[in-house]
């Protein structure tokens, strides 16, 4: 994809890192439930068991990561240059 600008590339990289992070969290949940199901029963916080806390955590975590992504992504220039050179100097996140 030769037409990606620098901002698009760094945004994409950010996305992949956040994805990898979430994948690890998700895998943790799935593997624990499959291979160490007893652990999910243990109370962890305020009397709630790990299953509930981890499950809610994954849901809230997805939202948090999405927000982080939105804030850290750099804005893209309106005209995307075709040879990959960044033409924009917008540095704040575009989550208004």
């Amino acid at each position: 994809m030769s037409s990606l600008s620098d901002t698009q590339r760094s945004n994409a990289r950010l996305g992949l890192w956040l994805f990898a992070f979430y994948l690890v969290l998700y895998l943790g949940f799935v593997l624990l439930s499959a291979f160490a199901a007893q652990v999910m029963e243990r109370p962890v916080v305020a009397g709630l068991n790990l299953a509930i806390v981890y499950g809610f955590g994954l849901i809230i975590g997805a939202l948090l990561l999405a927000l982080i992504y939105g804030m850290l992504c750099k804005g893209e220039p309106i005209d995307e240059p075709s040879n990959g050179r960044s033409g924009s100097d917008e540095s704040q996140g575009d989550l208004a």
Partner: protein, 640 residues
């Protein structure tokens, strides 16, 4: 259960439907070109689009199916919520922006953007059609299940009603109206579900140990007598003899019998707990041996969903907070229900529902549902099924054609990102609510044993008729919204990909729109027929199918296209076809399908476990890699 149609519900229901269809006609005048029809002129504001994502995504499966599953089995239904939502991370972080850059109207466009290949258009178009149809079936089945108790009409009426309304909406206005339908539906669903949860927490739990009769504990040997508790024991014949844990006792008024399930009750003792039996005969339905009805010699199924014991023996927990709700439930004892089938000599069958007293903390962790129970065991194969499902759910969201289309209705990449964030927030919040709703329904005393899909609406009914009316209408518009999106995706596949792309039929814009509308009608008609044929099936299960097929057919091709430069068009075509055929084939040869669809002996099934994802998704990836490597262009391609 017999349902009384509620006139409030009918009124509210038609008001909602009328409003959404009216909105559709109003907006419809604007969408004449195919850009307008398919992608709403790229002008939908991102916040609206975000909530529309939620409206699109939160289908009958989410609302009715997951709540129903949680109400029947506890936490395992919530696994679907987690998996469905986690899939959005794949959608947002991996797929979202690259897709937007690549394509115009459909998923097939995205796959084909680099290659302009008829093979890809064909494979992707077919894949879109297949996945959309699989996803449509549970929605239509859900519609029928909703209408039946709401309006008192038979199942097929609901299906036909949804079909007609949706076709009208889609044909008159396409994407613009479906976006607004979904925005409306998404907001209402989340808002009213939140209200329901607040009311539910305010009501708290009530212990109801005497909801059903129980006899005993009595000595185990006494069960073999001809009289128990002063009542005559009906002889075990006609198929009943194969179940010595079921006892039928005669009734003083001679109306049918009372059936009990024999359960262990301490040393050498047993307790008989009331069960309920439905027998389907040629002449109709019998409940506990008496005809179904409300008359003097008739019976109906009793609603279920009770708590046998609250902590400290209290009878009422009082209002609860979001955390004390779980803790109180964890320390209580709930009455779940399981079923078994009794086959009679005249080839009729009885389904007997019996009580399963369960400690509260067992419904608050995974492993209660029969499909997942094996995770608590040692056998690796049992865990494979669970792992495979979680993988399919995770990968499936980003692969659904009707979700992917929505990326194109906003102006640019940034707007697409923002709308997905809003979508995740709404959907995530809703899924948190589902756990409360499901567990609330489990303990509301108003569940219908024969239709777990009704758990959430019936919970609402146990709190307020108005709320029941509104929630049922919202659930119905939920189906409307999802079905609109699906029919749109399919009509796009037919008109844009298959007709124009593959067969090379070139048409002026308004003709393309016309073809798309005709396609919408045809797909809608097919959906109606299938929704009627599949009415017995579990809605959530069917959605799992759609996710598995989508994840196998679409995701590998899309991901490799976006991230691996050596992907060739032959590789893509092969991957889509292999993924689609292998996952479909696996499902059709699995024991669940054998049992629920064909009615054959599940032991004969070929597939070693039910969920194909863990096999077919890697298979599709591997196919793409192998075929691409085999079909590299002869000269070295230089890619910057």
């Amino acid at each position: 259960m017999i349902y009384d149609p509620s006139w409030i519900a009918v009124f509210v229901f038609f008001a909602f439907v009328g409003a959404t269809v009216g909105l559709s006609f109003f907006l419809g005048r604007k969408a004449k070109s195919s850009a307008g029809y398919f992608a709403a002129h790229g002008q939908i504001p991102w916040a609206v689009n975000g909530i529309a994502f939620a409206g699109d995504y939160l289908s009958a499966a989410s609302f009715l199916g997951i709540c129903g599953m949680i109400a029947s089995y506890g936490y395992d239904g919530f696994l679907y919520s987690i998996g469905f939502l986690a899939g959005w991370i794949v959608a947002l972080f991996v797929i979202a922006e690259p897709m937007k850059r690549l394509g115009r109207f459909t998923f097939a466009d995205a796959l084909d953007a680099k290659f302009d290949s008829r093979g890809i258009k064909a494979a992707a178009g077919i894949s879109t059609l297949v996945v959309s149809v699989f996803y449509l079936i549970p929605q239509m089945v859900g519609a029928g299940s909703l209408i039946q108790p709401l309006l008192g009409f038979p199942h097929w009426v609901g299906v036909v009603l949804v079909g007609i309304v949706v076709i009208t909406i889609v044909v008159t206005a396409g994407m613009v109206s479906t976006t607004w339908v979904q925005f409306l539906k998404g907001s209402l669903l989340v808002i009213f579900s939140a209200i329901l949860v607040v009311l539910l927490l305010g009501r708290g739990f009530t212990a109801n140990p005497d909801a059903f009769e129980s006899i005993g504990p009595i000595a185990e040997a006494d069960v073999a007598q001809s009289e128990i508790d002063g009542r005559a024991v009906l002889p075990n014949d006609n198929g009943w003899h194969q179940h010595d844990d079921l006892i039928r006792l005669s009734r003083g008024d001679g109306v049918g019998y009372d059936i009990f399930h024999v359960q262990p009750g301490g040393e050498g003792q047993v307790v008989l707990r009331q069960a309920q039996a439905i027998t389907k005969t040629e002449d109709g339905v019998l409940i506990d041996g008496a005809p179904l009805g409300r008359g003097k010699s008739e019976k109906e199924l009793k609603p279920v969903g009770t708590i046998a014991k609250l902590p400290n023996g209290e009878s009422d927990s009082g209002p609860l907070g979001p955390i004390s709700f779980f803790n109180t439930l964890g320390d209580s004892e709930v009455v779940l229900w399981r079923s078994k089938t009794v086959e009679h000599e005249d080839e009729t069958k009885s389904t007997v529902y019996f009580q399963k007293l369960t400690s509260g903390n067992e419904v608050l962790r995974p492993g209660e549902h029969p499909k997942f129970a094996d995770i608590r065991g040692e056998a690796f194969i049992g865990k494979l099924n669970f792992l495979s499902l979680m993988l399919a759910l995770f990968c499936g969201t980003a692969s659904l054609p009707h979700i992917l289309i929505r990326y194109y209705t906003v102006k640019d990449g940034a707007a697409a990102r923002k709308s997905t964030i809003v979508g995740i927030a709404s959907i995530g919040f809703f899924y948190v609510l589902t756990l409360y709703l499901g567990l609330g329904a489990m303990t509301s005393g108003s569940m219908d044993l024969t239709d777990s899909n009704m758990a959430a609406p019936l919970l609402a009914r146990s709190i307020s008729t108005w709320l029941f009316a509104i929630i049922s209408a919202i659930a119905f518009t939920t189906v409307l919204g999802t079905v609109s999106g699906l029919i749109l995706a399919s009509s796009g596949a037919v008109a844009h990909d298959l007709l124009v792309g593959v067969m090379g039929v070139d048409l002026p814009e308004n003709k393309k729109v016309r073809i798309a509308k005709i396609a919408a009608v045809v797909v809608g008609a097919i959906a109606i027929v299938l929704g009627i044929l599949f009415k017995e099936m579990n809605v959530g299960y069917l959605v799992g199918w759609a996710f598995s097929v989508a994840a196998s057919a679409n995701l590998p091709a899309l991901v490799m296209l976006l991230f691996w430069k050596a992907t060739t068009k032959e590789g893509i075509v092969a991957s889509v076809l292999v993924g689609m055929v292998s996952s479909l084939g696996w499902i059709l040869l699995s024991s669940d399908t054998y049992k629920s669809v064909y009615g054959w002996d599940p032991e004969l099934a070929y597939a070693p476990f039910s969920q194909p994802g863990i096999v077919t998704i890697p298979l599709a990836f591997a196919t793409l890699v192998v075929v691409s490597l085999m079909t590299q262009p002869r000269q070295q391609t230089e890619t910057a």
